[in-house]
């Protein structure tokens, strides 16, 4: 999200914000507003307020943690509870660099995508900077209404990083 990777784990406190200007192929620019929500339980209550205004919810799990994957449904329900089917849901399996510790297969993920009606799923690695750019490109192109008007649009995106804090020890 910040185009950087930090081995040191610093839990997000509250909600972080970042805006990102994307340049799409057809010379259009789109500004994404990214809200990075904290995964910790004590900040959970904040998230619904942000889902209210978002167009896309990016929900992340850790491919080396089955538990984080199982938790996805809860998060998706939270999102749907707030926005119904109006929101685009994107599922991201992070830490694809740790393939040997994989606990969640891509098939399982695809199944979930179908089940919950998510837009797409993608495996990324922020550490190896793999697929991160693609993720945001894909998100940007998922917003057809706003592609027509240049700039000024500020679709808001929720980036829900969940439960990764649990796996800190395994990757540091």
């Amino acid at each position: 999200m910040y185009d950087t990777f930090d081995e040191q784990y610093a839990a997000t406190i509250g909600i972080d914000f970042l805006s990102k200007t994307m340049y799409l192929e057809d010379n259009k620019t789109i500004r994404l507003q990214l809200w990075d929500t904290a995964g910790q339980e004590r900040f959970r209550s904040l998230i619904p307020s942000y889902i209210r205004d978002s167009h896309v919810a990016v929900i992340c799990y850790d491919i080396t943690s089955k538990k984080s994957f199982d938790n996805l449904t809860n998060w998706i329900n939270d999102v749907k509870l707030e926005r119904g089917d109006e929101v685009i849901i994107v599922i991201v399996g992070n830490k694809s660099d740790l393939g040997n510790k994989r606990q969640v297969t891509q098939e399982e993920c695809d199944e979930l995508v179908k089940k919950v009606g998510a837009k797409f799923a993608l495996e990324t690695s922020t550490k190896a900077n793999h697929n991160v750019k693609l993720l945001f490109k894909k998100i940007a192109s998922c917003l057809p209404d706003f592609n027509e008007v240049e700039e000024r649009n500020e679709p808001e995106t929720i980036d829900v990083n969940i439960e990764q804090s649990e796996n800190t020890s395994s990757c540091c």
């Binding site: 406190i13 509250g14 909600i15 972080d16 914000f17 805006s19 500004r31 507003q33 809200w35 004590r42 900040f43 209550s45 904040l46 619904p48 307020s49 942000y50 209210r52 205004d53 167009h55 926005r83 109006e86 700039e151 000024r152 500020e154 808001e156």
Partner: protein
Amino acid sequence: MDFIDFDSFQDGNDLPQPQPALSLPLASNIENFGKKFSNLNSLTRSLLRNAGGNSKTDSEDEENYLQSQAFQVAEKYASMSLNMLKDSDEVSSLNVGNGTSVGGTDGSTNVPYTKQSSDKNLSTRLSRVLSNPISDSSIREIFLSLEQKISDTTELVEPGVVGSMTRKALRSEIENDLIKTQSMLIREYQPVYKNLSQLEDKLNKLNRIYEDAKTKIELDCENVAQFNQEATDLTSRKQVISLKKNLLSSFRKNFTLSEYEEHLLTNSEINEDFFLALTKAEQIHENCSILLSSDNPKLGLKIMSKMMSHISKSVDRILLFCNKTFGNLHSLNTRDRLTTLHQCLRYLSQKPTYLNSVIAGFTESRSKTLVDEFLNQINGNLDQRNEFESDNSQVTESRRNRRRSSASRPIVLSAHDPVRFIGDMLACIHSVVVNEIETIQNIFNENDQVFKSMSSKMVVVTLSSLSKPIKSRIEQIISSETKIGTLFSIYNLLDLYTMMLGKQLKSDKETTEESNNADLIATINQLSKTSTKKIFSIVRNRLLTIKHSNQAQLDINSSLQPPEWIIEFYSDIIPLLDNITTPTIMNMEEKENEEFMNLVINEPVEIFDEHLKKSNTSNSKTLFDKRDQLILKANFVDLVLSKVTPISVLTDKVLQLHSILNEITIKLTEIQSQHYFEGCGLTNYVNIVNMICPFTDDFFDSSIYQPIVENKLFVKDELDKTNFEIQSFLPTALLDIQQSLLRLNSPIIVNDVVTNSSLELVKFYLKFGILIDKFLKEKLLSWSDLEVATLLGIDSIYNEEKNKLQFEEDI
């Protein structure tokens, strides 16, 4: 030409007297000769003149001419000689046929020869010859040359015809010679002459040229002088004029605007040139101070006022442009407009008042939009939305609103969940803040220091407009909220957002600090303080109601259990305290924190004390004995302690509570030991011992208790009675005491009390037994100390303790 006439010469003549000097006409001959030359000269000259241009043949001609000349002369002399001969034929006498003689100038003809006259002639001639100032050597030379000619003197001197003929011949010969030599001489001069005459020509020519040139030069000089005069006049005039011109042009440059520039300032659109012209106008305005200091300040004033009007007009236009642009942020999507705006602002930054007014206008309009948007969000007013859409100048805003309104529910206090409501509101503020920061940063994306501080200031000012509505809403909720838990959640939210917004606005830290309290973050921070205060006051009020509540008072009953209210109170307050991660409760100040902790812990204890006291005095129905009171208190404090112990912020308080409990334990132990002593009938003996010296663990010397024998109770009979009492009391004592402490909740305290009081008894029993042995020399107490200890169930503990006791001697 005269001739020396020898007619008169006579040999025989007596020459006693020197003849008068003969005047020889030699000189005159030469003169005549010269005269002839002069004729010749004129002749040659005419000839030369005739020759004209063909000077080539000159020398040739001249030669020819000279030859012919010579012939002519020869002929002449020949003819003359012939004539003379004829004459002499006719005239026998000696005379000279002189009539048509040479030159034609000599007018004397046929002079009659007389002796006298001939003498005279001769003498004059001779004298003439001799008196000639010719040097002797010359004369000699002359004569020598003559001698050569004269071959026959006799013939020569012969009178008569032959003689004269000869003489004449001689004469002509000499003359011829003379002529020849003379002509030769002259001829030598000829080339020189020729050269000279040529030179003369040239010189003449040169002279003429020189004269011409001179006159011309003089003329020219005059002209030049005149011209110079004119030129200097002109140059000086030119200088003056160019000076004037320079003056004027620099005046123009410094004090006037070109028409184009004026046009730029007044009519054309605002661009680079406009600002150049404007700077010039200002420069002129400034320069006018020089004009003002001159003698006639009128011009300066005039120009100044003109420039002032230009400048103010331009500034008005700039202001208009800025306001218009700010009024319609959509227009800033074009790069040009943005750059122009930057220029405008940069210009205005020299004029802080204008700049401030523009910025104030902008921030005001932004503030208004934000507040409207915010209120719109909260109220979800449909009419307001339509109104926005119809307003063209706020396309973006309306779009954003539309998007928001359609895409999301308005924030309503729907679920009557104030925490969610406030959370939504703060999330909304959060997004407004980031949007606003982006909007303003888009406008001022320059790295200019001026713009940077300006933009951050604007963000702060604009956002601070939200303070008021937010404050009123949240304050309202806080004040109407009564649940501590909810308030605490609100506090947490506010605190979190203070941090999160601070992160967003942290680049403006410097400005934030100096900005007023209207600042958004400050407001939210203040709100969190308000929520803390509210919690504080709720707690305080609650305790106050408890304090005066009869119900609470009645809660103290014979079960000796802690009252219901403290359990309820802690069930509310403990989750709050449990969730605190900061060093002080809710980030309060040290003093407040202390106060709050006192309120939460000490205050209930005090209230309970008070209630206890009251119930003992006023209420006759349930009178508690001392032990029961202590048990009540112990139970209460123990409950508080159990609630508070796990909470890290309260460690100090836990210690305090522990000490309170210890006190209670000690008091209870005292009561219990008294109870033991009474039961055993040892109270009197304890008093007697204490009067002498109370037993202590670290010192015992039986001899100092000598006075005990004087006491009337220290006798066998009395002691036997006591021994009996002990034996009847002790076997049930443990059960009794356990029964009485049954309502004390803390088993630790119970244990402490039982053990300590029993120990006290056993220790006394032991030392008292020693005293009896020593002073009455009889064993009156039937049970050993160990047996007593066993009966009281503290045998193992007593053994440990006994080893620590100090005795004067081993028993």
